[in-house]
Assembly symmetry: C2
Homo-oligomer: 425 residues x 2
């Protein structure tokens, strides 16, 4: 039987779970792949730490980059994290040495994916990163192989479990963002520094990867428009519900070139709106298959290790794919700006001084920017002085929306203004 | 570039759509696979029929089995249907000649899968049937490759779009089964002879395939317990809704050996309950990934052709897999009976004579069979003589349920009895 030797760099929860899967399932994996997949070497920060399994029979490297040059290693698993530094150094060294690399590192792939894909091709090595997008969902395999026959029109989804947990908990409990974030941190759903999650950066890393495979473009993180969820208030969640919508952080890229991450209003009954807690979901709109959706846990040791080992088993089985679905030379470079041509309906809430003529003034400003109100809720506040104007606006370009918001902000009667959010009908 | 020549047997809607995809996307498919996939030959019942594209440049065979022995064909696509006859003859002949076979034929694979898998292995050919299960959803690829690292606990789903259309339309309109079936036939959602769909046979063919891949067993259609939806009344749908459930035809196989297709009550908010119309859905419960779900169109020319061409592209890319995820010798044979050890909660409706002591008599019979009522709706009918006892019963074995139903039927006060249905909590 073919021998396939694996080294793991990083023994955090994902690395440890990956190691245990490989150690405990060698014979069943051999039956499925026709290869004897053997964990041979590991590298981590602390050799002595108890990880719940015995590493004494494995070769230990203090420096992860040393794994790249070990003679009898076929696949290097990079689960250390960080877009640069040791992760990038190890990945480059391993690919250069003709070793296959399996990584869960979305930031590294989103930022250095092209360079690494070329390096893999040049050295006849595979570069696999299924676990980098949507955790346990085989989101890249579905897109790259399962839907390979299709023209993709759009790929979208809930790509960050932390944000989805926060938004759905705010909705279910009526609590404020900061309060729910603190709880999520205590529960381990959010990092001590939540920036990557709540500011949409993590979701954008994943979207850059999905976009590249879906539309045959070079991954270009810098090209994405990114809005996180810090500005979402419990008030907006409750108004959205009154209007029949739920707010979700959605990453979406289209064949027309639009690509971004932003909170959106989704109809209450839609598949993505029904996704609660730290679950991820990916929607593929394509011809001729129509719409395919996949849902599952977007993070955590088990789901991530499931995807890491699936990549290892693909390589061990001899199932080769280009990292981004095509050779690097067949990926188009992206222009500096995403398209802003797409029209959307928008949600906007204005806190205004409750006096005669305000609504007329607001509609005048909107009209001047070619925008108009489709649905309106007007609510007097308890102080008797202010009111909320909650609007769903008819379809317009994002350019017109930005113009209108800029003008509305200058009006003396307009106080607080919500984050404007696209509405999916 | 590697050349990969394809022949298609059957030019119905799926065959015609497959042909058009291959003819129209040759260069994009070459970029993705590294192979020049070329449609060379076709066979169908009528050569002259207008199918919306030009077949004059393609080699024509009157007898589909002749495609198996054409020298320059690498992949034979079988989309004629029928578990035996020409489809089986062609598949055997093609595999015996060392040609790869891609088929959408769930009945053939469910009934002859083992024999064909062995034939494929013996001749170093691939046998692919992604399109046979859940239409456009890459349901087999997700299970066999995407979740390859996992121990599967259960695979379940909505595997027949016709039944799901009928059940969700009955629910939305309050109309009766026969009425909605006739409409579905008129709309082309159901066949003139609806037996395979509404009696659960089509779903069971698909379940036999999923079960084999999930649990490393030989596909064994005869082993499945199968109940269709003919006995579902609008009354039961409405009572189920009152209790917070929706009725769906569910195929489910577990690691414990249970495998069957039957209507079930699912909680209103659950992912599968929210699937309406002809959509399919598959749920995978597995360790360590937890639960992954996929949804999409379960039938139709576009979705099915999408999966057929994905198989062709896998073969053209050199991505080999065993048909059922392991070599034929590694698939266990199944014993004659599925396990009946699993406990379930059940829904049961009895029409009874509305007189004193009836409920006490019914509960006595249930008690004698080790069963008890969890939730009860008692409704007097308009005639004043009869009443409905609608019950959710506490968890019990299916053996106890059958005993209890047999005894209840002999009671003089019990008239009509609903199909007893498992309830998912």
């Amino acid at each position: 039987m073919k021998q396939c030797n694996v080294a793991i760099a990083g023994l955090g929860v994902v690395g440890a779970q990956t190691a245990q899967l490989l150690l405990n399932n060698q014979s069943s994996y051999a039956t499925k792949t026709g290869a004897n997949i053997t964990l041979k070497a590991v590298s981590a920060r602390s050799k002595g730490k108890d990880r719940g399994f015995d590493i004494s029979s494995l070769h230990w490297c203090d420096n992860p980059v040393d794994l790249a040059t070990m003679d009898d290693i076929d696949i290097v698993v990079e689960v250390m994290g960080g877009s640069d530094g040791p992760a990038l150094a190890l990945t480059k060294a391993a690919l250069s040495a003709g070793k296959h690399v399996v990584t869960a590192n979305k930031a590294m792939i989103a930022l250095h994916g092209m360079e690494l894909a070329k390096l893999a091709e040049d050295n006849n090595a595979q570069l696999c990163f299924e676990s980098s997008v949507a955790g346990g969902i085989p989101a890249l395999k579905i897109l790259r192989e399962g839907l390979a026959a299709n023209d993709i029109q759009a790929v979208s989804g809930i790509l960050n479990g932390t944000c989805n947990y926060i938004l759905s908990t705010m909705e279910q409990t009526g609590r404020a963002f900061n309060d729910v974030l603190s709880e999520a941190q205590a529960l381990g759903y959010a990092e001590a520094d939540p920036t990557f999650d709540v500011d949409g950066i993590d979701a954008a890393h994943k979207l850059a990867i999905l976009q590249s495979i879906a539309f045959a473009v070079q991954p270009n993180f810098d090209n994405l428009s990114i809005t996180g969820i810090r500005a979402i208030t419990d008030m907006d969640i409750s108004y959205a519900a009154e209007l029949g919508y739920r707010i979700r952080l959605i990453g979406r890229a289209t064949a027309a070139g639009d690509a971004g991450v932003a909170p959106m209003l989704l109809p209450m009954g839609s598949a993505l709106a029904s996704v609660t807690g730290p679950t991820n979901a990916v929607n593929y709109e394509a011809t001729p298959v129509q719409t395919i959706s996949a849902m599952g846990p977007g993070a955590g040791a088990g789901p991530t290790a499931s995807a890491v080992v699936a990549d290892i088993m693909d390589i061990a089985s001899g199932r080769n794919t280009y990292p981004f679905g095509r050779a690097a030379k067949d990926l188009a470079s992206q222009s500096g700006n995403t398209s802003t041509a797409a029209q959307s309906s928008y949600y906007l809430r204005l806190r205004v001084t409750d006096e005669k003529g305000v609504l007329a003034d607001v509609t005048d400003v909107l009209n001047a920017c070619d925008m108009s109100i489709e649905t309106l809720i007007q609510k007097q506040l308890e102080d008797g002085k202010d009111a909320d104007l909650v609007m769903i606006l008819h379809e317009a370009s994002s350019e017109n929306l930005v113009n209108a918001c800029d003008k509305l902000k200058t009006m003396s009667v307009v106080g607080d203004m919500s984050l404007p959010m696209a509405v999916q009908k």
